[in-house]
Each structure stands twice: as C-alpha cells, then as structure tokens.
C-alpha cells in the first residue's frame, strides 16, 4: 500500500492539486464565493494527500527520487525525498490543512473589499513553494522555488493593501528576504564551484573536495542566509513587521511553517551534506540561539499588539530550536553521535510542536481580531464570555507554548534541556560554559514566556471589556472553530504521544548522513517511559497526564465530601466604594512594566509625558494628559542604522561617476567588458 502511495504520480498529484487551487481561484476571481471555495477545496485536498504521502514516506525505507528534465542544460527538476523531507512535508501539509479549513470562514470578511482570486492564487502557490523547497534536490531548482515561496508570501503580506503600514512591512520583508537569498546563492554557488555539480545528492557524494576554509565560509553564509528566513536575531527585523500584516491564516503558516524551511536547510547542509563540522559551528549556533530566545521573549513580553507579540515569540522559539541544533552540531563535531541525535531530536520535536501551537495561537488571534477589528491588546478584555471556544483553544495554545505539562511544548523543551545538560557534563571548559549560558538563557526564556502568555491570554480574554469592540464581539463561525479545535487537540495529543514520536524521530535522524547507525541516547521503553543518557533523566507523558487527572479527581472527591451544602452567590468585584470602570483594570502596558523596568538595560524603555492646559497662560487646569511608553529598537539603532549610513555614504561617492554623459557610460561598459574578458581568461 505504501509503494502505491509513494509513486511519482501521487507526489505530482499533490503539486497539481495546489496548482489547480491557484489557477481556479484566479479563474473565478470575479466571484468571491466561488474563488474562496475553489482555492480552499483544492488546498484542503492537497494537504490531505500530502499528509498521507508523508506518513507513507516516513514509514518506508526506500530512497525516493523523481526527476523531470528541462530544456535548459543546467536546470533539472530533481526531487529527493528522504525521511527528513518527508517530516517537513508532514508539517507543511498538517498546518496547511487546518489553516485552509480556518480560511474558508475567515476570508469571508474580505468579500467585496479585496480580490479573493489573488488571495487564493498566492496562498496555494505559497504552500506549493514550501513543499518544493523541502524536496528540491537541485541548486537552481531550489533557488527558483525558494523565490516562489518568498514572493508568494510577500504578496500575501501586502494583501490588505489599503493599509499603508502593510505595504511598508512588505517592502521590509522583500528587502530582507532578498538579502538573505543573496547569502544563500553565494553559499550554494561555492558548493557548486568545488564539487562541480548542481545536484545536492552529487554534492553530498563529493563533499570531500571542498577545502575546510571554504566550508567555514559556506557555513557562515548559509547560517546568515537561512537564518534571515528563520528570523534569528539580528536578522529578524522583518518578522515582527511582516507576519502581523498578512491575513491571520497566512500569518499562521508563515510563523508556523515558513520560518522552519530555513531550519530545514540548515539541517540539510550542516548535517546531511557536511559531515565533519568543526566544534565552533555549534558554539556559534548556540550563542545565536540563546540570544534569539532571550531577546525574542523580552520583546514579546513588552509588545501590545497581539500578532506582533506572537511574531516575537516565534523568534524566541526559533532560538530554542537553534539551541537543540547547536548542541547537535557540537556533539557531532566530537563524534558523540548518540547525544547529537538526542539534541537533533529535541530540535525536530520543537519544530513540530511550535508549528502546531504557534499556528493555533495565530488562528486564535485572527478569530479575535476579526470580531474586534483591532490588534491592540489594550482594547480587548472579557472576550472569554463572548467567545468561549476561541478562548479555550487560545488557552490550550498558551499553555503549550509556555511549556506546561502535559501539553507538547513541555516535552520538546525537556529534551532540549537534556541535550544542554549533557553538554554541560561532557564538554571541555570553554564550550562547557557556552552550554551553561545556553541552559541559563533557556530557563529564563521559559519563565518569561509564561509571563508573556499570562499577559496575552489574561488581558485579551479575562476581566471586563475595555472597548466597545470587545463588548459586542461574538463567537466565530464553525470553520474557524474547527481549525482551532483540531490544532488544540493536536497540542495535547503530541504531548501524550511524545514517547511514540521520539521513536519516529530516531528513525528520521538515522537517515541523515552525519548520523548513520548510532546508539540512541533517547530510549523509549514499553510503558512510554522516555529515558535519556543512560537513565540520567526519565519521564513518561501518560504518567504525567494521569497524575494530573488523578489529582483533579481527588480534589473533586474532597470537595464533594467536605463541602456539599454550600451555596454560591453572585456578587460584585470589590470596588473600594466606587464604580468599577474598565480603566481600573490592569493594562497590558502595566502588566509588563515591572519586567520591562527590570530589563531596562536591554529594552531601553522611554517615557514621555505630555500635558495640555485649558488656558495656555494660566497653567492650573489641565485639559488632557498623555503618557507615551516606548521601547527603543536597539538593532535599528546600533546595527541597521550604521549599515544604512555606510551604504548612503558609499552611494554619495559612487554618484560622482554618474555624469549623465552617454559617452562616459559607453566607456564604462567597454571597460567592464575588457575586465570580464581578462578575468575569464
């Protein structure tokens, strides 16, 4: 049965379904309803087939190659699907499935305002692009589909084009993603130069011909290039701008899945193509990972825009994923394959988990925003009474992302911690301290993430409404709730089945060239007991769940036994004798202010007080007072601003040769030609 599933025609059927979705959506662009239906229908069908295909591919041991020759000599459409690719196909299809179901209802509010045909076109192409990115096996083909993915997502970011901020965010995304692509092209071309092939598989075979220094350069270029897509700090600035601008189900896909394609290529290059990474690569990845995790969560905590908060939290989670990846690189450099596999499994598991709960949270945010028409947390409040189901799903997502057991986030973070502990134990002195530093930043990050999501959930859904919009909000329609409910259930399910999943991850890691056959440091026994590093730590997901459930039953028994006749009276919140207004509740700014002041060395908060008087000459009666709290962006100030100034200065100098004289330009062209000929010979 698996063989039939894995045939070339099944794989291309997935592609064709998404292609059909794109084309029919464009075809029906005059009719909003039909365009929505066509694009969602084909996207759902394609995702379902993708899930089935990827499960079959993970379970099969055959190496899968598909090839289509093109009429261009260097370019051929090669696909190579191993376990790692199949795993990413699974994530992409899984999240697209629920985002597409959600999308059916969600994009109804664009009817009559924007063209649904183009939305469906770019949405389907975006998913198609991602699927090709994780399967492409030819450098030129890869760059093409990478660009399709980036451009389709760019058009989705600027989809709500009447809002000037979205256009700006789109431009920033466009520039940053192409800076990233430039680094990627350099890295991949260097690989081609020393191996003489455009095919990843051939490059893998002849990787020995790349000198070590060039490998280091490729590492740096690839880390910056793919890191830009993944959103590592300081290349992240596009992410908090672009992700919130897109329609919410697209934000969910971008934050949940697209940024992981960068991580996919890092794994592919650092582990599958190169096999002898030096130790310092791991150290670099660990340091960047800890900085991204810690700074990401600090900015998320300070943020008052719900979708921006989630976007910053994606940067944090990419940091956590990189902590696993960096530990894996360090262990692999020291030939400690079983620990490297443990760290990579932690990283893969967190990739899966983050894609589930982050897309859930973005969908929840979209559901709230579509009813309240604002992204500002300060204008929410009390939504749990009007949108009880959205609130429940968002709560599940918040608990999962704060790594509370028995949800899935806890188990991948637990594994990441185990990898870091092992590094602290077994590395040499300087590297040991990098692991200590990483574990320290991870524990601080998870504490701050808890605070961040108490704020995100509490200020949004609890207490009394703070604005008219929140007061009149209603529960979202069925398709939205269905998409969120499925993802919330998956958060719990992946947590409970973490033992089963670790077995699959072991299998995936075995397929990567650096690992081959290793003695797993992560063992799952019969009763779902996961134990790592020869019994250093052990945990059992069902047992954690059972203990929590049993504790719950015990309390209900106590209550039933001791306190059964007591009545519950509904009263008012204690109001100190005045009428309670929404203004008396704590605000989002107020909630995070203490933590912001504690971390003022990093966040650099500023406070501006303004006052307007009724009579400018007699300054006794103020008419209004304003207070502006801001966080300054240190990257813009200390990283991007100097670069910007430098580029401007260079441009000023270069301008001098631009005389406007055509003859001079002809001379330039001639000189350039001569130079090129000279170098070519």
């Amino acid at each position: 049965m698996f063989e039939a599933m894995l045939s070339q025609s099944t794989f291309f059927a997935i592609m064709v379904l998404f292609g059909l979705g794109a084309i029919t959506a464009l075809f029906f662009r005059k009719d909003d309803k039909l365009a929505n239906l066509a694009s969602s229908f084909f996207a759902i069908l394609g995702s379902l087939l993708g899930i089935a295909y990827s499960i079959a591919a993970i379970n099969s041991d055959a190496a899968i190659f598909y090839e289509i020759k093109s009429s261009f000599p260097l370019l051929s459409f090669n696909f190579n699907i191993d376990h790692l690719s199949a795993f990413f196909i699974f994530i992409i299809s899984l999240i697209s499935l629920f985002c597409s179901i959600y999308g059916i209802g969600y994009i109804k509010h664009y009817y009559g305002k924007y063209n649904l045909g183009t939305l469906g076109f770019f949405y389907n192409f975006f998913i198609l692009g991602m699927l090709c990115v994780v399967t492409a096996s030819n450098i030129l083909f890869f760059l093409m589909v990478w660009e399709i993915m980036s451009l389709a997502s760019y058009f989705l970011v600027i989809y709500e084009r009447n809002n000037q901020d979205n256009i700006k965010a789109g431009l920033l995304y466009f520039i940053m993603t192409h800076i990233g692509t430039a680094f990627i092209i350099l890295a991949l071309l260097l690989m081609h130069k020393f191996t003489g092939s455009f095919d990843f598989f051939t490059i893998k075979e002849s990787v020995g011909s790349i000198p070590p220094l060039v490998k280091d350069i490729i590492f740096i270029l690839a880390f910056i290039g793919f890191g830009t897509k993944a959103g590592i700090i300081p290349m992240h600035i596009w992410l908090p701008a672009a992700h919130p601008a897109a329609p919410s189900h697209v934000s969910a896909l971008m934050s949940g899945v697209m940024i992981k394609t960068g991580i996919y290529m890092m794994i592919r290059i650092f582990f599958d193509i190169f096999t002898d990474a030096p130790l310092w690569w791991g150290a670099v990845v660990l340091i960047v990972g800890s900085a991204s995790a810690l700074l990401g969560v600090l900015y998320a905590m300070a943020e008052n825009d719900l979708k921006k908060l989630l976007a910053y939290s994606s940067i944090e989670n990419i940091g956590i994923i990189l902590l696993g990846l960096g530990s894996a690189l360090s262990f692999a450099a020291l030939e400690m394959k079983s620990f490297a596999a443990l760290a990579l499994i932690a990283s893969l598991f967190h990739i899966l988990n983050h894609s589930v709960f982050k897309s859930l949270l973005f969908l929840g945010a979209g559901s709230v925003i579509s009813k309240t028409h604002t992204r500002n947390i300060e204008e929410y409040g009390g939504l749990i009474k009007h949108m009880p189901q959205t609130a429940l799903f968002f709560l599940a997502g918040s608990m999962a992302i704060s790594a509370l057991p028995p949800f899935n986030g806890f188990f991948s973070e637990w594994m990441t911690f185990q990898a870091l502990f092992e590094g602290m134990k077994s590395m040499d002195s300087a590297y040991q301290w990098i692991f200590v530093f990483s574990a320290g930043s991870l524990v601080l990050t998870s504490g701050l993430a808890l605070a961040t999501f108490v704020k995100a959930f509490g200020i949004t859904f609890l207490a009394r409404p703070r604005s008219e919009g929140a007061l009149h909000a209603k529960e979202s329609s069925l398709s939205l709730r269905l998409g969120m409910a499925a993802l919330a259930a998956l958060c719990l399910l992946f947590g409970l089945s973490s033992g089963f999943l670790s077995g699959i991850f072991n299998n995936i890691v075995r397929g990567i060239k650096s690992f081959g056959d290793y003695d797993p440091a992560l063992v799952v026994s019969q009763n779902h007991l996961i134990s790592v590093n020869g019994g250093f730590s052990s945990i059992s997901a069902p047992a954690v769940f059972a203990v929590l459930i049993l504790a719950g039953i015990a309390i209900f028994a106590i209550i039933r036994f001791v306190s059964k006749e007591q009545k519950v009276k509904i009263g008012a919140t204690w109001d100190c004798g005045t009428n309670l207004e929404p203004r008396m509740e704590i605000t989002s700014t107020g909630f995070s202010r203490t933590l912001i002041m504690i971390f003022k060395g990093i966040l650099k908060p500023s406070k501006q007080a303004g006052i307007e008087y009724r009579d400018a000459n007699m300054r006794y009666f103020p008419k209004s007072r304003t207070m502006v709290f801001e966080i300054s962006d240190v990257y813009k100030k200390y990283f991007y601003k100097p670069i910007h100034n430098f580029v401007l200065k260079i441009s000023e100098r270069v301008k001098k040769i631009q005389s406007g004289n055509v003859n001079a330009y002809v001379l330039y062209i001639f000189m350039a030609l001569i130079l090129l000929l000279f170098f070519a010979v």
Binding site: G382, G440, G447, I555, K567, V568, K569, G571, A572, T594
Partner: protein
C-alpha cells in the same frame, strides 16, 4: 502491599501536614512579637471553616476563576507524589524529574495569575503582574540549584538524588552549600515569604500573593490557602530531602520508615523555625530590589555548577 501503604502515606503526608507547618511558623512569629499567638492547629480550623461557608463570586468572573483553585491545588498534589519525602527507595521514574516538578508547579502559578486577572479588580491585576515577575526570575535559580545536585549524584530523578546525596565526598560540599543558599532564596520567593512578600497583610503596596486571591471565598479560598501551604511544605521538603537527606529511608522496613518520618518532621521543624526567624528579623524588600536577590540566587547556583562540572 507494603509498598502500596508507603505510597499512600507518601501521598497523604504532605497535604496533611502542610497547614500545621503554617501554624508553627505563625506561632513562632507571634512569640517573637511577644504575643501568645493562635494554636498551631489554627490553620486546620480555618480550612474547615472556609469549606463550610457559602461563596461569593464576582459577576465578572469566568470559568477560569472557578476552575483555577482546582488546578492550583491539583498541581501541588501531583508534585507531592513526585518528590522524595521520607523514603528514597520509592522509585518514581515517571514524574519524579526535576523539570517535571518545576513545570507542574508552574501550572499552579499560571492559573493563579489568570485568576487574579479574571475578576477585573484593581488588586488582582497587579498581583498577577508581580507574581509573574518574581516567578519568571526565580525559575533560573530553582532549576540550577537542583541541577547542581543532579550533576553531583548523576541523575535528575529526585528520588535517586535523595538516595545518593548523603554519601558525598568532601569536595562536593562547597557547591552543594552554595546551591542550597541559592535554593533557599528561591524558596522564600516562591512561597511568598519575606523579603519577597508579606503573607499576613493586605496592604496594596506590598502584597503579591494575597492580591491575586482577594476575591476568593468559601471552599475555593480554602483550596487556595491549602495549596499555598502545600507549596510551602513542598519547597521545605525539597530542601530537606535533597540537601539534607540524612535519615531518609533507603530500604523497606518498619523501623527505617518510622525513623525516617520522625527525621523528616524534625527537619521540617528546623526549616519552619529558620523561616520564622527570618520573617521576624528582616524587612520586606522593595519590588525593584527583588530581581537583585533572585539574580544573586541564580549566580550562586551557576558558580556551584561551575564547581561541579
């Protein structure tokens, strides 16, 4: 069979003793203030009274407010089954991991902070904000101080740690002492004690824990009060069973276990006396001084880790 009986004692002893622990601390504090003080069993009477009172719930509250006490109390119950109290030979490989215990306790913190926000009063919100500030910074010190012990003993399972730690070499004494100092600071922070919080006032300038639960009454208040007593005893137990495991029963046997329980009670009493003395002798710190203290605990633990690895 004997194993089952011991497990039942293990699960029941912590919630059963925790109100007594609070009573003892209150009594000692009262003596320091030249008062007679209430009986050490007063917290039991309080709980009984709360359980039999009717409740008032705010009309702004949602199901989170109603559910939170159960989650908070449930988390403490789950933890009390996952930490070594008097017997290290009960091997709980399933939930006895350091990280599991820390994160299950975090479930309680999460719901407590949400319950504080839920009623929309002026107090609950800032209580939640302060609680999250303190607990997010305390987590580092807690994990790293316990991690020192697991590096020394070669496992992160709390039961195994308590079984191996009392046969330590002299060389690992210094890191363990440093880690204990770090742990003790976290203990005061997490259980809402001086100098972090004042457990006996309702003054809006100082309160953290009391601000979040100010809207509770009746059985839900009883559950929350009981849960915070449990949390206090959980931290005391972690301190006594992991850092001072002498007397803990390593094998089955009536005498060993009876002696272990006696030792345990003695150690808890010592901890209570120390906490009461600290509460009576130092002042509460300003909120913005707290991070310094928590950072100090974190750094102590990191130094201790540096000495062990």
């Amino acid at each position: 069979m004997a194993e089952i009986i011991i497990w039942i004692i293990q699960i029941l002893i912590l919630p059963a003793l925790s109100p007594l622990c609070v009573g003892v601390i209150r009594k000692i504090k009262a003596r320091f203030q030249n008062r007679q003080g209430a009986s050490i069993f007063q917290p039991y009477n309080d709980l009984w009274k709360f359980f039999h009172k009717d409740e008032v719930i705010s009309r702004d509250a949602s199901w989170i407010f109603r559910f939170a006490p159960f989650a908070i109390f449930g988390a403490t119950l789950a933890v009390s089954a996952s930490i070594p109290i008097f017997a290290s030979f009960l091997s709980n490989n399933f939930t006895g991991d350091i990280l599991v215990v820390i994160y299950i306790l975090a479930i309680g913190t999460f719901f407590l902070a949400l319950a504080g926000l839920d009623v929309g009063g002026a107090f609950g919100g800032f209580g939640a904000s302060r609680e999250m500030t303190v607990s997010s910074l305390a987590e580092g010190g807690l994990l790293f101080s316990l991690l020192v012990l697991s590096f020394v003993s070669g496992t992160t399972n709390l039961f195994s740690i308590s079984g191996t730690i009392d046969s330590l070499s002299l060389a690992s004494l210094l890191p363990v002492v440093l880690a204990f100092l770090g742990f003790f600071i976290v203990l005061l922070a997490e259980t809402a004690r001086f100098p972090f919080d004042n457990p006996s006032t309702h003054l809006e300038l100082t309160m953290i824990h009391e601000a979040m639960i100010i809207e509770y009454s009746g059985k839900r208040l009883a559950l929350i009060e009981w849960a915070s007593a449990n949390k206090l005893l959980i931290f005391i137990t972690l301190g006594s069973s992991l850092f001072f495991p002498m007397g803990i029963a390593h094998s089955m046997g009536f005498i060993a276990i009876a002696a272990a329980i006696l030792f345990y009670l003695l150690k808890v009493l010592v901890f209570c006396v120390v906490i009461a003395i600290i509460e009576s002798s130092i002042a509460k710190l300003r909120l913005f001084r707290l991070p310094d203290l928590l950072l100090f605990s974190f750094i102590l633990s990191i130094i201790a880790i540096g000495l062990t690895i």
